[in-house]
């Protein structure tokens, strides 16, 4: 975390990427929600293939790293805009 490059990369992620999901790969195990430090219910997003536009998301990547089915990834913000209701 203290690595400045890490920090820079995270700032870019926050600005340019959002957690995106492929619902067909998801088995609803709940590991993502359980490990989100902010308490975002990632599973319910993955269920319907919604991107996480929650302001509280700190782009830590914990949900992505822990998902056993590679359901989640950081996708471009434009995709998020398209998916908004």
């Amino acid at each position: 975390m203290s690595d400045p490059l890490d920090l820079l990369a995270r700032v870019r992620l926050l600005a340019e990427a959002v957690v995106t999901s492929d619902p067909e790969r998801c088995v609803q195990c709940g590991i993502c929600s359980y490990n989100c430090p902010i308490g975002i219910d990632v599973r319910s997003h993955a269920r319907v293939g919604a991107v996480i536009v929650d302001q509280r998301c700190i782009s830590c990547g914990e949900c992505i790293a822990r998902c056993p089915r590679d359901v989640l990834w950081f996708g471009p913000v434009e995709d998020a805009a398209e998916d908004l209701p």
Partner: protein, 434 residues
């Protein structure tokens, strides 16, 4: 209109949600043997391993469940009367129906070795099984795991994670031989060994010997004796067909359904692991044991039950599984010529269609940590197996799903296989949404 759903698994839930979304007033009765709220069956593996706590396996909030306004009955459906349109429950109740859905799933096949009835011979089918396994793992020193496919691995790894010494007996020469190629099997096996699981190839249980009704040791066909407290079995699953059979519905491997999931009887539907759908390419009846497939079945069956237009065309099967900490994506036909000695039938998280042997050309990448194997037909990518490379997995899934025409790439595929594999992945990545 009264809808009756038998089974409270993935297909039953998806059907109930589809019905309620279209009809705010219909009565929906759900009869399920399990007393629990809706949970993730694949998630049970992580509950067993201790990755998530018990409360995490439940997949719908209180409000979502209340909004469905289900009349839930915890009971066993025993008899389906087609003429009178009634369902008879074990507890004595008789439930009339206008539309009925069989979403009874598939059950683990019981083992047939001598000693199979002993206390300590266990399976991994439902939440009660896992709670039972967790309780027993606390006092167990050693377990023998037998069977094949993902569930056997989940049993082995879950018990190992709980501090139990695990011996995994494989009948054949390698793991999941009809789906994985030899290199892939080896990688999974290496990972299991790295996790401290002892593998015994070409070994079967000759008999389980008990002491005061409890498992005491296993005698193997190789002549070994393994002292143990648990024998965990995952030799395959079979659709629960009792109700359908007794009602005289048309049955093959599963309950035969049309593209709207209606069975041979009018107003009676079947969906999920119990249903046999037609493969549009081969014309053959196929059963799957896959979570997202069960959800898709249930959603379309539920829609059809309301009378709304609905139709299903079976897509190439997709499964993502984690075996020995390797995430493996399997899409379409990737079958291997070897028979799998460890499975009696289909395994959980398995599809019969993966066993189809495509007369096609196989290409494998050479990075062992991110192995990609594709099976290319004359015009299309017919299947792909990807280890640990999510971007490649998503890209190749698109090519298989959308039957992207690859004829223009065919010459390049022959001339420069590694380059061609990279081009395939690029092409899939550019193909847009999943």
């Amino acid at each position: 209109m009264r809808h009756v759903i038998v089974g409270s698994g993935a297909a039953g839930l998806a059907a109930a949600e589809a019905i309620r979304a279209r009809d705010g007033v219909a009565e929906i009765v759900m009869v399920g043997r399990e007393p629990h709220a809706f949970y993730s069956r694949p998630g049970l593996a992580y509950l067993l391993a201790g990755t998530v706590p018990d409360k995490q396996v439940f997949i719908r909030g209180r409000d979502e469940i209340a909004a469905l306004r289900l009349d839930r009955r915890t009971d066993d459906a025993r008899q389906l009367d087609l003429a009178r349109r009634e369902l008879h429950l074990a507890g004595g109740a008789v439930v009339p129906w206008d539309r009925l859905l069989l979403a009874t799933g598939a059950a683990a096949i019981p083992p047939s070795f001598p000693g199979a009835e002993l206390d300590g011979v266990v399976k991994l089918d439902d939440l009660d099984d896992v709670r039972n396994l967790i309780a027993r793992a606390g006092g167990a020193k050693r377990a023998v795991v037998i069977g094949g496919g993902p569930t056997a691995i989940e049993l082995a790894e879950g018990l190992r994670a709980r501090g139990v010494e695990v011996h995994y007996l494989l009948r054949g020469a390698r793991f999941w031989a009809h789906v994985l190629d030899p290199v892939e099997s080896q990688q999974v096996e290496d990972a299991l060994v790295a996790h401290g699981i002892a593998l015994h190839h070409q070994t079967q249980v000759a008999r389980v010997v008990g002491h005061r009704g409890k498992v005491a040791w296993v005698e193997t066909t190789a002549g070994d004796t393994i002292k143990c407290d648990l024998v965990a079995v995952a030799i395959g699953v079979a659709p629960r067909l009792e109700l359908a059979r007794q009602a005289g519905l048309s049955i093959g491997r599963g309950v035969r359904v049309d593209h709207r999931f209606q069975t041979s009887a009018e107003h009676v539907y079947a969906a999920g692991d119990v249903a046999e759908v037609r493969d549009p390419d081969t014309g053959e009846g196929v059963v799957d044991s896959l979570w997202s497939t069960a959800l898709a079945h249930g959603a379309i069956a539920g829609t059809a039950m309301t009378g709304a237009p609905a139709g299903y065309r079976r897509p190439p099967s997709l499964n993502v599984t984690r075996l020995g900490a390797i995430t493996i994506t399997i899409i379409g036909a990737v079958g291997q010529p070897d028979a799998d000695d460890d499975l009696v039938t289909i395994a959980r998280g398995d599809s019969l269609s993966w066993r189809a042997r495509p007369t096609a050309w196989t290409l494998t990448g050479d990075d062992p940590a991110r192995r990609v194997r594709v099976v290319v037909g004359p015009r299309h990518l017919v299947g792909a197996l990807v280890m640990n490379d999510p971007a490649a997995a998503r890209a190749l899934t698109r090519l298989v799903r959308h039957r992207v025409d690859l004829s223009a790439l065919r010459a390049a595929l022959d001339a420069d296989p590694p380059g061609a594999l990279a081009r395939l992945i690029e092409l899939g990545a550019a193909a847009g949404a999943p």
